[in-house]
């Protein structure tokens, strides 16, 4: 049967150290309690796990391969392995969580699903899961993101989802989440909120971590089976942090160095970035979208707009477990700029024949940067999604001279 990493025992339920919690309007509390109970039941129910496993195997195409990136490795002087979430159905890791939660929604008797999306990958995954399971689906998406991820908007509509544009605030992921939560507050009795990242109010960070831990469980087993050893380093990009926590969860007890990569945008000093950890001035502990964590904010607690070339990393808060892993120095968090991510995007395309999502290109860039300092190191990179959705963005950036072929 499918192996997932069990949710960690929390000293204070709902909290990772001082981070996490449930900072939402009272209206939602009973629904969150109900969801928490259903989740714990489900992950202990062999029937549920069998159904989930069957979908992951026969529909998503899991396990996804582990590919050794030989030419890239040679070019940078390390051994780089790619966990190929880009080969999962719908082209990113998001489908793992979307299917898991859609099954939970059915278990709760909820026939309507709402979700937010930034890059569109979570929206596509949710629309897909809802089509498969016969659920009504509404996706909220910022109008800026709709413009830069047009193919995904069309995909969601083809899959039968209603895509509702969000014109408020910065018109990106943050605002889409606000609107999805408002919808949920209004329709909570009939609707499940299918949150796409390891953030939000308890129990979402635990749910998303658990369903995504299939990535790390597979990658760890694949390394051991093929090479008889674990990697020295595992690297993943961190927006909210779902692909990263899904990978890291399986390695937390191992002597493996873990590296999370935030979006450095145009550089930290430019102020145009999404690095919650690296910008000690503006990235401070606060509350956004129901969870206490590091948040980019002004001195008076107003949330700041962020920038990243990758819509999926363009978000001012980070999942609460990442905040805790960082405080305990279990995971090192670093940042990669737009320019570095674009260079990694092109390197992977030319050397390996793989177009990564711009999000995942941040993790690839970090591996390329790490390699010279650790000659011969074995580096596992979570290639969380494929790059087809980003072609327009990349073409535009290249045209603007940020990088060239």
């Amino acid at each position: 049967m499918i192996r997932l990493i069990s949710p960690p025992i929390q000293e204070r339920p709902g909290y990772f150290g001082p981070y996490g919690g449930r900072y939402v309007p009272e209206t939602l509390i009973p629904a969150l309690e109900e969801l928490e109970a259903a989740f714990h039941e489900a992950v202990n129910d062999p029937g549920f796990l069998r159904e989930f496993e069957d979908l992951l195997r026969t529909y998503v195409g899991r396990p996804t391969p582990l590919t050794e990136a030989r030419r890239l490795s040679e070019a940078v002087g390390a051994r780089i392995f790619l966990k190929r979430e880009d080969l999962a159905h719908t082209g990113a890791h998001k489908i793992n969580n979307a299917l898991g939660q859609a099954l939970l929604a059915k278990r709760l008797g909820k026939r309507r699903v709402v979700a937010e999306t930034g890059a569109g990958q979570h929206g596509v995954a949710t629309a897909t899961a809802c089509a498969l399971l016969g659920l009504e689906c509404v996706i909220y998406m910022g109008t800026v993101d709709m413009a830069r991820q047009r193919p995904n908007v069309f995909r969601m509509r083809l899959l039968g989802a209603e895509v509702r544009p969000v014109d408020a605030g910065s018109q990106t992921l943050k605002d889409a989440i606000n609107e999805a939560i408002r919808d949920w507050v209004t329709n909570v009795r009939t609707t499940h909120y299918l949150l796409g990242s390891a953030l939000g109010p308890h129990p979402y960070p635990l749910i998303v971590r658990t369903f995504q831990s299939v990535i790390g469980v597979e990658a760890r087993a694949q390394m051991l089976e093929r090479f008889g050893r674990l990697p020295d380093v595992a690297v993943a990009c961190v927006g909210g942090g779902s692909n990263a926590i899904g990978l890291f969860a399986a390695f937390l007890e191992d002597p493996v160095e873990l590296v999370g990569v935030e979006a450095g945008g145009e550089g930290i000093s430019s102020g145009r970035h999404a690095t919650r950890f690296a910008d000690g001035d503006r990235g401070r502990v606060g509350v956004l979208h129901g969870t206490r964590t590091y948040v980019l904010q002004d001195p008076w607690g107003q949330i700041l707009d962020t920038h990243s070339i990758s819509a999926g990393l363009d978000y001012p808060a980070v999942g609460p477990e990442h905040a805790w892993l960082r405080d305990r120095n279990r995971v090192r968090y670093t940042a990669v700029t737009d320019v570095e991510a674009l260079a990694a995007f092109q390197a992977l395309a030319r050397l390996e024949g793989i177009l990564p999502a711009l999000e995942s290109a941040h993790a690839v860039a970090e591996a390329m940067r790490l390699a010279p300092a650790r000659p011969g190191a074995w580096i596992l990179v979570n290639l969380s999604g494929r790059g087809d959705k980003d072609l327009e963005t990349v073409a535009k950036a290249m045209g603007e001279g940020k990088t060239s072929l």
Partner: protein, 270 residues
């Protein structure tokens, strides 16, 4: 007299005169700082019993489009915590005596630090606090600190809140219980929910004597008439903002709206 006493007195007075307290919400800094101060002073003059002052937050996830737009504009006007507290101090200096509660989200409070925020608020003349993203389980630190400094704590309950939980929430109130009328976000509505009265009665029974003020969606004199005999307080927000917008924030129009609502309370002197 501290904030807790001031708020308590409002509800005692309302009970004695057998009418609900009329509570209005206005976001400080909307349409601009000066006009918002004038509007709050006018509302006090026109017969409001208590005013909730909105301290704007960039991501107000319990609010509908009207309050979202208004608080967004306040932020664009540069209004932040110190300006809101300065507005309170100025209102006090102008002789505005009715209780003023801050309504905001938890992040601006945390950003300042709870003790410092509360101290500065009390100093400026704030009487109470309403924080819609701080449910029972997360509220204790702020509630206890507010209690210690004499600021009224106004927790919220919703139609989805079970009776047993509502009783526990009400027990934490040092001002009143803010009962959300609908499963949803703020915003004027043409009609109150069909089960509104039943919801209110159930909540008042469970609240065990703690005053219950109902808000979200109350926007017309007929809503006031319908709820007057059932609630300890009625809270009007989005509808007031819309009246302001429609009249170019005209003093007479806003005061007139307050009077119309007051007169809709059965048995009120005209």
């Amino acid at each position: 007299m501290n904030g807790i006493d001031a708020v308590r007195e409002v509800f005692q007075r309302a009970r004695t005169s057998r009418r609900p307290a009329l509570i209005f919400y206005w976001p400080v800094g909307y349409p601009d700082l000066e006009t918002s101060i004038r509007i709050v002073a006018d509302l006090a003059q026109a017969g409001a019993d208590l005013i909730e002052l909105g301290l704007p937050f960039s991501d107000p996830l319990a609010d509908g489009p009207v309050i979202q737009r208004a608080t967004q504009r306040a932020l664009e006007n540069g209004v932040r915590t110190p300006h809101v507290l300065e507005a309170v101090a100025r209102l006090r200096a102008m002789g505005v005596r009715l209780p003023l509660s801050l309504m905001t989200y938890v992040n601006p409070i945390m950003a300042r630090g709870i003790p410092r925020f509360l101290e500065e608020a009390a100093q400026a003349g704030v009487d109470g606090l309403i924080v819609p993203d701080l449910p029972l389980e997360e509220a204790e630190e702020l509630r206890a600190a507010a209690d210690a400094i004499g600021l009224a704590w106004v927790p919220l309950a919703a139609p989805t809140t079970p009776d047993e939980r509502l009783a526990r929430i009400a027990a934490t109130a040092t001002g009143f219980l803010y009962l959300v009328s609908v499963t949803g976000i703020t915003g004027a509505r043409d009609r109150l929910p069909a089960d509104g009265i039943a919801h209110l009665r159930r909540a008042r029974r469970a609240a065990g004597g703690v005053p219950v003020a109902i808000g979200f969606g109350i926007s017309r004199p007929e809503h006031v008439r319908e709820l007057a005999s059932e609630a300890d307080g009625l809270i009007i927000g989005s509808a007031l903002i819309q009246h302001g917008e429609a009249s170019g924030f005209d003093e007479e129009a806003l005061s007139g709206f307050v009077r119309v609502l007051r007169e809709a309370i059965p048995g009120s002197p005209v």
